[in-house]
């Protein structure tokens, strides 16, 4: 039970109260935490920073459109198995002919099937007590993927292919599982039912200030004020794609390279706005909203 107490973030990561609570509940109940929320709100960062700060072993499985449960759990290496079994035959033939040297199978024995099981992040995490397992962007996976995980999640065990070895872990030593999703497709109800769900709300200005402070501790307050002012204004005018935390941080990274007076000026001129706004129609909208006097803004923003 050592790792079950509440974790509220580290020097580099601000874990908001509600997220911290949900994460704690998930770990205490031994259930995975499913995080949804706008892109760039630090969903993926949570397990990474948690593992880093607590010094726990971390296993990451980035999901993609071709993800399968075999990659995630374990895969039987048929090719190696075939090769080794042929080597055995070869070795037998060599021995018959009186050749002394034998070909090596690299310590693997075709008798023990477990030698040929390549464990994926899930199997590794379950066999390492108190580790952290991140399943990133599960909404990108094919529909069967979350469904295939149901048994493993509710019974805390995986059955290895071919060898039949069962990897199981107790509720106390259950890895902290964090699953992130961008809602590009709806996850199956049965899957959601086995998770603790948390929706990350977009941080308000005060929280954002703290987040900025964690990432750019040396930055001048007046720069942050000016940047946040514009940032939240952009979010309010209803762009097709609202700028996110990640993008704000990138923007600040850029203006930080200038002296503070210069930086504020740059912010007010929306210099480097390309880090925040990613579509042409949004740029036009901003021009309309902020520069009614017909300043040649689009030109300037593209020249950067």
């Amino acid at each position: 039970m050592a790792k079950k107490e509440i974790w509220t973030g580290s020097d580099e990561y601000l874990c908001d109260r509600e997220l911290a609570q949900a994460f704690h509940i998930a770990r205490t109940l031994g259930m995975p935490l499913l995080i949804e929320g706008e892109p760039g709100t630090g969903k993926t960062e949570l397990p990474l920073q948690y593992a880093k700060e607590q010094g726990l072993e971390l296993f990451v499985y980035p999901t993609g459109s071709k993800s399968t449960v075999e990659q995630f759990v374990a895969k039987f290496d048929h090719v190696k198995y075939l090769r080794d079994s042929q080597i055995e035959i070869l070795n037998a033939q060599r021995a018959e002919k009186g050749v002394q040297s034998a070909l090596s199978t690299g310590g693997r024995n075709t008798e023990s099937l477990a030698d040929y099981v390549n464990k994926g992040p899930a199997a590794l995490a379950y066999s390492t007590p108190n580790s952290v397992l991140l399943i990133d962007e599960i909404d990108k996976a094919p529909r069967e993927f979350p469904n295939d995980l149901l048994y493993a999640l509710s019974h805390r065990q995986f059955i290895m292919p071919e060898s039949g070895e069962v990897i199981t872990c107790s509720e106390e030593e259950m890895p902290a599982i964090v699953i992130t999703s961008n809602r590009e497709q709806e996850l199956p109800t049965a899957f959601k039912g086995r998770c603790i769900y948390h929706y990350i709300h977009f941080p308000d200005a005060d929280t954002m200030r703290e987040i900025v402070a964690k990432h750019h501790p040396q930055i001048d307050n007046s720069i942050v004020d000016a940047a946040l002012d514009i940032f939240y204004h952009l979010r309010r005018i209803g762009l097709e794609r609202s700028p996110t935390t990640r993008e704000l941080l990138n923007w600040l990274k850029y203006v930080r390279t200038f002296s503070s007076q210069e930086a504020i000026q740059k912010i007010e001129q929306l210099d480097g706005i390309g880090t925040l706004v990613k579509t042409q129609s949004d740029l036009e909208k901003i021009q309309k909203a902020l520069f009614k006097d017909g300043e040649d803004f689009a030109k300037r923003s593209t020249s950067n």
């Binding site: 509440i6 109260r17 509600e18 911290a20 609570q21 949900a22 704690h24 509940i25 998930a26 205490t28 109940l29 949804e36 459109s65 071709k66 993800s67 399968t68 048929h78 090719v79 075939l82 090769r83 042929q86 094919p142 529909r143 069967e144 993927f145 809602r183 590009e184 497709q185 709806e186 109800t189 959601k192 039912g193 603790i196 769900y197 948390h198 929706y199 709300h201």
Partner: protein, 438 residues
């Protein structure tokens, strides 16, 4: 215990069943629940499975645990002000407030106390001693006399109930909950003299020693006043609010699968090159390329309001999936040609449409309402040709379904092309039917 909980939450549209109760019990056992705010947080993480569940969940919670009913469109603030629970709490706690009689401030304070969780309180003390002192049967008056200075001091800390058995905890909680809902007590048992324990007066924290954070009360208020946290009406005809729900429904057209198959020609090829050592070559099954054909009726005033939203919908879809999406236009009904531009100048014949791959998913969007002579033999033949060629074909109609049988042409076209209302639910249904055909 709390057998009515799943049903109550279900009646608010929050999926809940006996597993909820089991998890809830487990949470109590693990010591996660010490305050009323904890119940909110824990049940939220168990029950809420979508951001649009948050609103109904919060409303259901207030009704179930605090007996505060929030009417449709009413703010949490008003609902609290109106409630008997709040009135009672105010009377009971009069001495704590001093001269501060500002109602708004009191509501804030009430919310704070309801939502104070274990996480907000630092000190933990022995719950068993408190437990034995507290009797849920006590009347409020008795307790107020009882509460000496020493005990009040104790109440400022958090009780640790881990020594008590689950049964005891559940039983006490049940009892207090029933009293909370009873007519007589009007609701000052959970949230008694500042104590906000689900186990009765002696409960958890008094004001609680805050360790930062903005307090869950603020969030609850925000949740109930923001439409984002309520489910969209999926039966409503497509509009700006439910376009995302429609998009989610449309995504179903693409049935992604990922499987490995044995690539036989490759295996033989490579095997021969290796001099007879055959190693299976696997191939990743690529997901089927999705191609969509969109036929939009953009003639006539009746269709004007929908053309833009429909195009937004499909454009959004296109940006997320790189696949073929072709849009054509027609006026009222399809004769022997459709148009590739919205001004209907560049025409393309039905025959060339029919030369396309039959795997195309075809969506025809139109109100299918016209004078009956317009729906000529040519037009009917076109629809027949389209549905025979394209196996996946459906008609989405912005006209509300209940009016369909008043229009003759809708009746006719409905027989030719499977028709669904142009609402997120209708689209979902259309997509499901389309996927059924292989």
């Amino acid at each position: 215990m709390f057998a009515s909980l799943p049903e109550h939450f279900r009646s608010y549209g929050v999926a809940s069943d006996v597993r909820t109760l089991l998890l809830f019990q487990k949470a109590i056992q693990k010591g996660l629940i010490r305050t009323l705010g904890d119940i909110y947080t824990v049940l939220k993480s168990i029950l809420v499975k979508d951001v649009s569940d948050l609103g109904p969940y919060t409303a259901a919670y207030y009704k179930y645990f605090l007996n505060i009913a929030i009417d449709h469109g009413e703010s949490l603030h008003d609902a609290i002000l109106r409630s008997e629970t709040f009135r009672q709490w105010k009377t009971d706690n009069l001495d704590r407030f001093g001269d501060d009689k500002d109602l708004d401030a009191l509501v804030d304070r009430f919310l704070e106390e309801v939502h104070t969780t274990t996480y907000d309180i630092k000190e933990v003390l022995d719950g068993k001693a408190l437990w034995n002192k507290d009797n849920p049967e006590l009347e409020d008056e008795t307790l107020d006399i009882d509460a000496g200075d020493a005990e009040r001091k104790a109440l400022e800390q958090l009780a640790d109930y881990s020594d008590l058995s689950l049964d005891e905890l559940m039983e006490r909680m049940q009892k207090v909950w029933e009293q909370q809902r009873g007519k007589h007590s009007g609701g000052s048992h959970w949230i008694g003299t500042g104590g906000i324990s689900p186990y009765g007066h002696g409960g958890a924290a008094k004001d609680g020693i805050r360790v930062g954070g903005t307090g869950g009360g603020k969030m609850a208020r925000r949740i109930l006043s923001d439409r984002k946290f309520f489910p969209v009406d999926t039966d409503a005809i497509l509009n700006d609010n439910n376009v995302d729900a429609a998009l989610a429904a449309l995504k179903g057209v693409q049935q992604e699968t990922s499987e490995e198959t044995l690539d036989i020609p490759q295996t033989i090829d490579k095997g021969i090159k290796r001099g007879g050592l055959f190693i299976p070559e696997m191939e990743f099954g690529t997901s089927k390329k999705l191609q969509v054909l969109l036929l939009i009726d953009n003639g006539g005033y009746s269709m004007d309001p929908y053309v833009k939203i429909v195009r937004t919908l499909f454009r959004k879809m296109q940006t997320r999936f790189a696949h073929d999406l072709e849009t054509f236009y027609f006026h009222n009904t399809i004769y022997d040609k459709v148009y590739s531009d919205s001004q209907r100048r560049k025409s393309i014949s039905i025959d060339s449409l029919l030369s396309k791959n039959p795997d195309y998913r075809v969506f025809i969007i139109g109100d299918a309402s016209m004078a009956s002579y317009e729906l000529s033999r040519t037009s009917i033949a076109s629809y027949k040709a389209l549905t025979t060629h394209f196996k996946h074909c459906s008609w989405l109609n912005p006209e509300p379904m209940k009016y369909w049988h008043y229009t003759f042409t809708i009746q006719v076209i409905k027989e030719l092309v499977p028709m669904y209302p142009l609402s997120p639910k209708g689209i979902e249904e259309a997509v499901r039917q389309m996927n059924r055909i292989i």
